[in-house]
Symmetry: C2
Subunit: 263 residues, 2 copies
């Protein structure tokens, strides 16, 4: 066994193989080794949701969706919209329409999307980064811990808040709903973010405020950390699979050593 491991890591030439076959064998070994090394040395990478996780924008999104739905003659209670926030906008409107017995059609979906973006942008000047958000990502950058942002929102609504957060668009991988086929609770956004970082999703930790982030994390086989700053309760996040819950980015930074955030 020790001999096999030694061979795998040292890539010694095999005495009985030809040069070409040897190269191919080494390639196969490297592939296997890569996988094993990743699990043997699981340095954590953090994949952040945006709204409610790094910026305080959930309540504005909720009221903007309510306004959009009402303009289509669909009156819905605000709390029901709040409980669906964080998932794909298209999926959310489909679910809300189905639950309230309204018809789903593509043109209406498109009108809702535009109306929401317009109403949200009108409200977005009041939006601030959450306490500790900038300090948390600055800590990770300084400690050379990989991090990225993955949001169910579109770049159209995400850009202004990313700017208030001071994110360097050239250096931080950002995945928006425009780039993947399915948004949360599907795992695609987080998988794409891990790929952009060049890290394994199975050694990544998703940080989000909604149950949809936690479900997407589980489907991607990542870990999930829940933040209360989107207005969900601790029990909701834990039930959806969060392995740890903090109040907001400031509280997460205070506990960073508990969750793989050391240098």
């Amino acid at each position: 066994m020790r001999a096999i491991l030694a061979k795998r890591f040292m890539r010694l030439p095999h005495p009985t193989l030809s040069r070409k076959r040897e190269r191919e064998k080494n390639k196969r070994e490297r592939r296997k080794t890569h996988y094993h090394l990743r699990m043997d040395n699981p340095q954590t990478a953090f994949l952040f949701d945006l709204d409610g996780t790094l910026v305080d924008s959930v309540y504005q999104h909720v009221l903007a969706w309510q306004e959009a739905l009402e303009s289509e003659g669909i009156p819905l209670s605000v709390w029901r919209i709040h409980r669906k926030i964080g998932m794909s906008g298209g999926l959310m409107t489909n679910i809300l329409l189905r639950e309230s017995g309204h018809e789903i059609d593509a043109a209406r979906g498109e009108r809702l999307r535009r109306m929401h973006a317009e109403s949200y942008n009108r409200r977005s000047k009041a939006i601030r980064p959450l306490p500790g958000a900038r300090a948390l990502v600055a800590h990770l950058t300084e400690a050379r811990i990989p991090w990225a942002i993955a949001t169910s929102g579109r770049m159209e609504t995400a850009r202004p808040v990313l700017e208030t957060l001071g994110v360097d668009f050239d250096r931080v991988p950002i995945v928006t709903r425009d780039e993947v086929r399915y948004a949360k609770p599907d795992p695609d956004l987080f998988i794409a973010a891990a790929k952009k970082l060049g890290v394994g999703i199975e050694t990544s930790t998703v940080v989000g405020d909604s149950v949809w982030d936690m479900l997407a994390a589980r489907r991607a086989r990542a870990l999930g950390i829940g933040l209360l700053s989107g207005g969900y309760a601790s029990e909701e996040l834990e039930r959806a699979g969060a392995y740890r819950v903090f109040e907001d980015p400031a509280d997460m930074l205070r506990h960073i050593d508990e969750i793989g955030g050391r240098r």
Copy 2:
């Protein structure tokens, strides 16, 4: 024992007492009997919170408080305000100021109250009764089950939403923050509402959307029913003492026979 009970309920003249002493004794007995009868025949009365319970106004209150606090140079995350909504406005601002290390003074408190009312009234035209709210109170009225409204808000902000609800101000007892010394989570509002109805608080059921309603109910020795329509989670309400949780007034009406709402 049976003889004592028979005497108490039938009020037979006592053979050895004079007429006057007999009358006094009967009066004392009646007082005692009144208490016992109330516990023996506990017809439920319902004491409703207003915001988030009968009308869909919590998120507007939350953002109005955020705007008021920000105008005083106190930036607070929206979810933290949401978690305090439903308690006395004065108590809430004191708690939020203390938690965020700001100074509490009466003049600032008064400015915050005025600023909140102004900002809230600007947002209040979008506010609607919650699904089933009108049908629920109409059912109770028809079934001759006593009900009243007790809100931590002031009449200044409560009146417009009471009007959208179609409440008959001459017939429905309404207790606002203006009428009691301490609002929720103190029990005074619900005790005053029960008194206005002429029912015992210990046979009343408080219906509210926030943990502060549930805590006030327990302090008043009433029962508490939690509604999710204010945006709190089921577990938060149950942990604060709710003996039953429903989605909204429509859902409560569907289950009215489970909670003493029969004719």
